[in-house]
C-alpha cells in the first residue's frame, strides 16, 4: 500500500514538473529568440535560423548608431525619471490621504478612482490626445506649434522668434505631454492606500504625541516601513513608462523628443524589417528594465518589518 502511494506521488510529481518545464519553455522561447536573432546576420534572419553561425557582435553598435539610439535613450531616461518622480509623489500623497485622512466624499472619490482602472487605455487615448493638444481646455506653456515653425526640414533649428508663455498652448512634442499623463494612476494609489491602511493607528497616535504631523509621520515613519509596496509601484511605473509606445508616438512628431520604444520602429523600413538590428535594439532597451527589476526584487524579499507592534 505504501509502495503504491509512493509510486503515485512520484508520477504526480513527474507530471507536475513536465507541465512546468513546458510552461517555462513557452515563456522563455521568445526571449531566447530575441537574443539569438540580435547576433544574426540579415541573411540568417530572412532564412529563419535559430542559432547564428558566427555571432554578429557588431549588430549592437550598428543598431545604436543607425537608429540614433543615443538620443532616444536619453529621452527615455528623462521621460521615465520625471514620470516616476511625479508618480511617486502623487501616489504616496494620494494613497496616504485615502488611507489616513478623513475628508468629505472620500469614499465616493475613491470609488470613482477605482472605476478608472476598468477603462481600457484605447478608449481614453483620443480624449487624452485632444487634451494635450489643447483642444479641450487651455493649457499653459510655450506653444509647440510655434516651435515647429522654427524647425527646418532637416530638423535643424532656424533662427526665429519664439512665442512667449501662453495659456493656449499645445503640448505636442513637449516633455509635459510625455510625462504628466503617467504621473498618477489608480493602481498605484490603490496599492499604497491598501498598505498604508494596515498601519496600526497607534503608530500615528505615538507620532502625534511625539510632535509629528501628517507629513512628517508619512515621510519619517510610514515610508521607511513601506519599502515593498513602494518598490512595487516604482517597478510597475518604470516598466509602464519605459515600455510606452503608442502614447509617445501620438504626441511626438519629431525624433528629438521620442523615447526608445518609438525609436525601435526605425528598423522597420519600407524595404522590410531589419530584424537582427531590431532585436539588438530590443535587447538594449531591455537592459534598464532588468537592472531595475533585480534591484527592486531584492527589496521585495527583505520584507516588511512591522515587528515593533505587539509581541
Amino acid at each position: 500500500m505504501a509502495k503504491h502511494s509512493r509510486l503515485v506521488r512520484i508520477i504526480g510529481r513527474a507530471i507536475l514538473y513536465l507541465i512546468l518545464i513546458v510552461g517555462a519553455i513557452i515563456a522563455m522561447t521568445p526571449f531566447f529568440w530575441m537574443i539569438s536573432t540580435s547576433f544574426m546576420s540579415l541573411g540568417e534572419t530572412i532564412n529563419r535560423a535559430w542559432i547564428p553561425q558566427t555571432p554578429q557582435w557588431g549588430n549592437y553598435a550598428e543598431a545604436w548608431k543607425q537608429a540614433n539610439f543615443g538620443v532616444y535613450f536619453k529621452n527615455s531616461v528623462i521621460i521615465t525619471t520625471v514620470s516616476l518622480l511625479g508618480l511617486m509623489i502623487n501616489s504616496i500623497l494620494a494613497g496616504y490621504a485615502f488611507a489616513s485622512i478623513k475628508f468629505p466624499g472620500k469614499n465616493i472619490i475613491f470609488a470613482i478612482l477605482l472605476a478608472t482602472m476598468m477603462v481600457p487605455e484605447s478608449v481614453t487615448v483620443l480624449p487624452s490626445l485632444l487634451l494635450v493638444r489643447g483642444s479641450i481646455i487651455p493649457l499653459p506653456g510655450v506653444d509647440s506649434r510655434a516651435f515647429d515653425a522654427c524647425v527646418g526640414a532637416g530638423g535643424q533649428v532656424l533662427a526665429c522668434q519664439f512665442q512667449n508663455f501662453t495659456f493656449g498652448a499645445s503640448w505636442l512634442n513637449t516633455l509635459q505631454a510625455l510625462t504628466i499623463p503617467f504621473m498618477a494612476n489608480a493602481f498605484s494609489i490603490f496599492l499604497l492606500r491598501q498598505f498604508f491602511q494596515q498601519m496600526p493607528s497607534e503608530l500615528y497616535d505615538a507620532a502625534r504625541i511625539d510632535g509629528a504631523g501628517h507629513l512628517r509621520y508619512l515621510f519619517q515613519i510610514v515610508l521607511p516601513i513601506s519599502k515593498a509596496p513602494i518598490m512595487t509601484v516604482l517597478l510597475f511605473g518604470f516598466i509602464g513608462s519605459w515600455n510606452s509606445f503608442m502614447w509617445p508616438l501620438l504626441v511626438t512628431t519629431r525624433d528629438v523628443k521620442r523615447p526608445i520604444m518609438v525609436g525601435l520602429w526605425n528598423f522597420v523600413t519600407e524595404a522590410g524589417p531589419q530584424t537582427h538590428l531590431l532585436m539588438a535594439g530590443a535587447v538594449i532597451t531591455l537592459i534598464p528594465i532588468l537592472i531595475v527589476y533585480f534591484i527592486t526584487q531584492k527589496q521585495f524579499t527583505e520584507g516588511i518589518a512591522t515587528t515593533g507592534l505587539k509581541g
Binding site: P200, L203, D205, A206, I209, L309
Partner: protein
C-alpha cells in the same frame, strides 16, 4: 507634575455616546486607574486627555490650563500604548529620541536623557537594537522609556501590560508602581484588569457605558462599592448576588431569599430599617463565605445550606461552586475543607461584610444602601 480635571466631558461618535458627563479631579502625583469592561469609555477618556480625540462637550484641564484645543505634543503628556507602537525601522535609541529631536533639543541633552531612562529601565544594552530584536517585556520597557525621556507632567498608560504573559505582567506591574514613586508624577492608567487596578492605584475610577460609577481608593471600592456594577466588577471571583426581601424577624430584620433567611447584624439595623418589606439585592463576596470549621473569630456568621456542584483546588484556598435554580454562586474556603461533589453542606456567611442594593431606585444597577 500636574493635576488633571475632566469637567462635564461628553464624547460622541455619531450616535454612540462614549463618555457621559464625566467629572474627575485627579490630584498631582496621583496614580489614577480608569477601569471598566470593554467599551466602557476608559480608553476614550484617556485619548481625550492626550488630545488624540476631541471632546464633544465639556473641558479637560491639565494643571489650570484648559487643553481642549491644544495639540497632543503641546500638552506635556506622554503615552504608553497597548501595542507599544514602537517605530519598527528605528533603533531603541532613536525610538526614545524621536520626540526629543522633533522638539529640537540639543543632541547632548537627548543622549543624556535617553541613557538615563535606559538605566532606570535596565535597557542600556539594547539601545542599538531594532524593536523586532526585542522580547515583549523589553519592548514594553522601551515604550515606557520613550515616555520617560519626555519628562512629562502626566504619564498616560493605555492597557500597557495586556500583551505580556502572566508572569511578566506581575513583574512589570511592580516596576510601574516603583517608577511612579521614583518619578513622583501624575500617572493615569487604563486597564480592564481589576487586579492591576487594585494593586497599582492610589484611586480607581470605575466606568461603565461611559458613566463614572465610582471614584475611590481601592480599599473603599472593595469595602463600600457604590452600586451593584462596582460590587460585581471589583473582586475576583465576583461578588454573589441574591434577589431578596428585607423582613421583620424575631424582633429584628432579616434578609429573606427563596433559599435562606439571614439575620441582619445589629450595627446595620438603623441603616436598613426604612427598607423593611422592600425588594433588595443581597450581595456577599466569595471570601466572606466560610466552612464553619475554619471560621475566624469576631465575625457575625449566618448558616446557609448548599449542595456542592464543583470544587476547584487553588492550593491556598478552594473555590466551592453551587447552584440555586439557574444561578451559580461561589465561595472561597479554607484549603483544609474536604467537600465532595453533590454533598449537601452548611457554610456560613460573614454578615458584617454583607451588601444590600436598593432595587427601587434602579433595577439594572441598584445603588448600595449605606
Amino acid at each position: 507634575m500636574a493635576s488633571v480635571t475632566y469637567k462635564h466631558v461628553w464624547k460622541r461618535f455619531g450616535e454612540v455616546i462614549a463618555l457621559r458627563d464625566l467629572n474627575i479631579e485627579i490630584e498631582d502625583k496621583e496614580f489614577l486607574v480608569l477601569v471598566g469592561p470593554s467599551g466602557c469609555g476608559k480608553t476614550t477618556a484617556l485619548r481625550c486627555l492626550a488630545g488624540l480625540e476631541e471632546v464633544s462637550e465639556g473641558e479637560v484641564l491639565i494643571g489650570d490650563m484648559v487643553v481642549n484645543d491644544v495639540a497632543p505634543k503641546d500638552r506635556d503628556i506622554a503615552m504608553v500604548f497597548q501595542s507599544y507602537a514602537l517605530y519598527p525601522h528605528m533603533s531603541v535609541f532613536d525610538n526614545m529620541a524621536f520626540g526629543l529631536k522633533l522638539r529640537k533639543l540639543p543632541k547632548a541633552d537627548i543622549k543624556q536623557r535617553v541613557e538615563e531612562a535606559a538605566r532606570i529601565l535596565g535597557i542600556e544594552k539594547l539601545l542599538e537594537r531594532k524593536p523586532r530584536e526585542l522580547s515583549g517585556g523589553q519592548r514594553q520597557r522601551v515604550a515606557v522609556g520613550r515616555a520617560i525621556v519626555r519628562e512629562p507632567k502626566v504619564f498616560l498608560f493605555d492597557e500597557p501590560l495586556s500583551n505580556l504573559d502572566a508572569k511578566l505582567r506581575v513583574q512589570m506591574r511592580t516596576e510601574i508602581s516603583r517608577l511612579h514613586h521614583r518619578l513622583a508624577t501624575t500617572f493615569i492608567y487604563v486597564t480592564h484588569d481589576q487586579v492591576e487596578a487594585m494593586t497599582m492605584a492610589t484611586r480607581i475610577a470605575v466606568l461603565n457605558y461611559g458613566v463614572l460609577q465610582q471614584l475611590d481608593t481601592p480599599q473603599e471600592l472593595y469595602d463600600r462599592p457604590a452600586n451593584k456594577f462596582v460590587a460585581g466588577f471589583i473582586g475576583s471571583p465576583a461578588m454573589n448576588f441574591f434577589n431578596a426581601k428585607l423582613e421583620r424577624y424575631n424582633g429584628s430584620l432579616a434578609v429573606v431569599t427563596d433559599h435562606f433567611t439571614l439575620p441582619v447584624p445589629e450595627d446595620r439595623l438603623a441603616t436598613y430599617a426604612q427598607y423593611e418589606g422592600k425588594d433588595v439585592i443581597f450581595g456577599i463576596r466569595p471570601e466572606d463565605i466560610y466552612n464553619p470549621q475554619f471560621t475566624p473569630p469576631g465575625i457575625t456568621v449566618a448558616p446557609v445550606k448548599i449542595k456542592v456542584d464543583v470544587t476547584e483546588m487553588m492550593g491556598n484556598e478552594i473555590f466551592v461552586y453551587w447552584v440555586y435554580g439557574k444561578d451559580e454562586y461561589v465561595a472561597r474556603v479554607d484549603p483544609r475543607t474536604r467537600y465532595q461533589i453533590g454533598e449537601e453542606v452548611e457554610v456560613v456567611f460573614n454578615m458584617n461584610n454583607m451588601q444590600l442594593f436598593d432595587l427601587s431606585v434602579d433595577a439594572e444597577n441598584p445603588p448600595a444602601i449605606r
